[in-house]
Symmetry: C2
Subunit: 398 residues, 2 copies
């Protein structure tokens, strides 16, 4: 089977133009926004052109279906609030090109998917979580974004495209190609990473409730300052994690909103996101215990209220041996000596899909390891090399 690199790159750049940030190659295409919906309409057209049957489920997961049993390939086309052009989009367009090339060569049947809200406007890989049965639709509908919009309201923007549920039983497996989003391949000058497993993730909102008051007349010792509570919690956490984490463990406070957020007022409330990731489920649990105890302690010592949001997350996942083996063989053929086996520190839809069928993942380098930013990029020859590895593997898997 012969892939068409130019056709693949042309489609990838066409998708980038939908929701283009106007800054470098960056895109602004969060789930269910106007640009996300426009991108899904455009993708649906390209799926039809490729002879695939378009199907959209209630969450807005977009499928291009081959007839009968098929291998599913793809990723997601939604982006972070300030996203790169390849995060997700690469895996969708690469799958489309392989599906086209395989069809032209009379190869195996390939279906394509773009999952919805992988970037977690409403949680964590929300679209594939619902499709895989990991998250019930009614529960998902209650999730809100940082602006307080419910998923139920947001997904109405796609209702016109919905055709109904898509039965996972029609797929024999799932392969997702993605940028590494880390520095490993780029710093080693390698082209391909075959994923061994995906780390687990936990994500929880925490709220500290203190006493909003005047910043000039409230003595320091009488304050119940919600920002000071977050800062103290953050400092204590780093100390307490020290004996528990490995160099591969990460944790992040990426979202914080103070209330009322004015310079002359002692903040009365702070809501923030606590996210942590590791390959070992036991370590994730030990970290959760430290987080809960520390937040409790900080609140009690300051006479403040504290509450936890729902704990969202996914378990670490091992890739399927057969699919992974085919990718490794193909990688050695396409990029001899310039590929490696590696874990994925980032979360992917493949984690959810692994509950339903065998899954595997393929990485290409991220320049300087930068992702989730407008600067995100990858050399086009590496992008094409990745698609070639996919095509060879698929041909072998038959």
């Amino acid at each position: 089977m012969q892939i068409d690199g130019d056709r693949f790159l042309a489609d990838l750049h066409a998708l980038r133009a939908i929701g283009a940030a106007g800054v470098g190659k960056g895109v602004v295409r969060p789930a269910y926004t106007e640009s996300d919906v426009a991108a899904r309409r455009w993708l649906a057209g390209r799926f039809e052109d490729a002879g695939l049957e378009v199907a959209v489920d209630g969450m807005g997961n977009l499928f291009g279906l081959a007839g009968g049993q098929s291998l599913l390939m793809g990723s997601h086309s939604d982006s972070q609030p300030e996203g790169g052009w390849l995060d997700g989009a690469l895996g969708v367009i690469a799958a489309l090109e392989v599906a086209r090339a395989s069809r032209e060569a009379g190869g195996p049947a390939i279906s394509v998917v773009s999952f919805q809200d992988e970037e977690g406007r409403f949680g964590v890989t929300t679209g594939s979580a619902v499709w895989s049965g990991h998250l019930a639709q009614p529960e998902a509908d209650g999730l809100t974004d940082h602006a307080g919009v419910t998923l139920a309201d947001a997904r109405a923007a796609l209702s016109e495209m919905v055709t109904g549920p898509v039965d996972p039983a029609r797929f024999t497996g799932f392969i997702e190609m993605h940028i590494e989003q880390g520095p490993a391949l780029d710093s080693a000058g390698e082209q391909i990473g075959v994923v061994s497993d995906i780390v687990g993730i936990r994500d929880m909102k925490i709220t500290f409730g203190g006493q909003q008051n005047h910043a000039g007349t409230t003595p320091m010792h009488l304050r119940k300052d919600a920002f000071q509570a977050v800062s103290a919690f953050n400092t204590l956490l780093a100390e307490r994690f020290r004996n528990v984490v490995t160099p591969a463990t990460v944790w992040t406070i990426g979202h914080l909103s103070l209330h009322p957020n004015a310079s002359s007022i002692v903040p009365g409330r702070a809501v923030f996101s606590m996210q942590w990731r590791d390959g070992d489920p036991d370590r994730l649990a030990r970290m959760e215990a430290i987080i809960r105890d520390t937040a409790q302690e900080v609140a009690e010592s300051r006479g403040m209220d504290m509450s936890f949001g729902p704990l969202l997350g996914l378990e670490p996942v091992r890739m399927d041996g057969r699919l992974r083996g085919a990718l490794e063989e193909a990688a050695e053929t396409v990029a001899p000596g310039k590929w490696r086996t590696m874990p994925s520190g980032a979360l992917h839809d493949a984690t959810n899909v692994s509950r339903l069928m065998p899954v595997a993942m393929l990485f290409v380098p991220s320049i300087d390891g930068i992702s989730h930013a407008f600067e995100e990029d990858t050399a086009e020859e590496d992008l094409v090399a990745g698609v070639e590895v996919l095509a060879r593997a698929v041909a072998v898997l038959g």
Copy 2:
């Protein structure tokens, strides 16, 4: 001269209804918003009814002028994003009542003012700062609120009301009545506080610029996390202030905005407000040096960028002896043994006005010391007692 307590309270509650939060007695009337403009139009009508000539300068400072030379009284009618019903409004309506009562009794000429943006949507007591010549209009026009709106654009909302500049030379002095906004009077069961001096304030925006990146694939030791920089800065500051501050000194990080503020992204930028207050100008300067050094240090140690916004602020101010003496005599008559002399930990328009004429201030209790919050309140008998003290003092001052 005889004040009318019912008329005073009726006007105070009528003003509260404009921009009412619907939560307790709270109001939402930030400078130049629809509700602030509506309140100023209503006040202008009440000034006319009281036989005062309405004048509005370019900033939107609203005056009710008595003929010839007069004593100026008042405060501000704009509120915090979530404000109490008395913060500012009390001083304006109290002044209106005293002006009316004095006129009816053939007493001294009293003019009334409601200054604009005392709560600092665009800075610190912006309206009286411009009127007093402390801040030039062109410089003020360049100030932006937390949403990025410029003062120049915001004040256009009041342009229809503007009559032109108001000459400070027509006023012989300024008396501002205000709630204490602290716990001192309420916890002591006292009714009146005569202010001795107003503490100085400094306010500065600080920005840390790091590297926005993926929260799963960026190892902790390679991160340039802007939130971690703010947290480290905040912790170091508390330690370094210890040997410099007194129990009366306060400092606050009340506003913080992370960018892009998403749970799966290492924050690349943090902009926050640093505010500190003290009665001693030298201490304010020593604190500024510590703030600047610490921010620099934190940024350098993390290989991050850092920048300071303009330093806004006001010097500590002593109240005028003659005006203050009249208030103390009146306080002893109206509330014998239930009043005190005290400093003001909060900033007030009187600070700016003191550059132009003698100033004095009168406090009434804040229940539980709560202010800058919907719960802010004061017993109505204390409110009326305050107006009676004002009226007696004014009569004596002649």
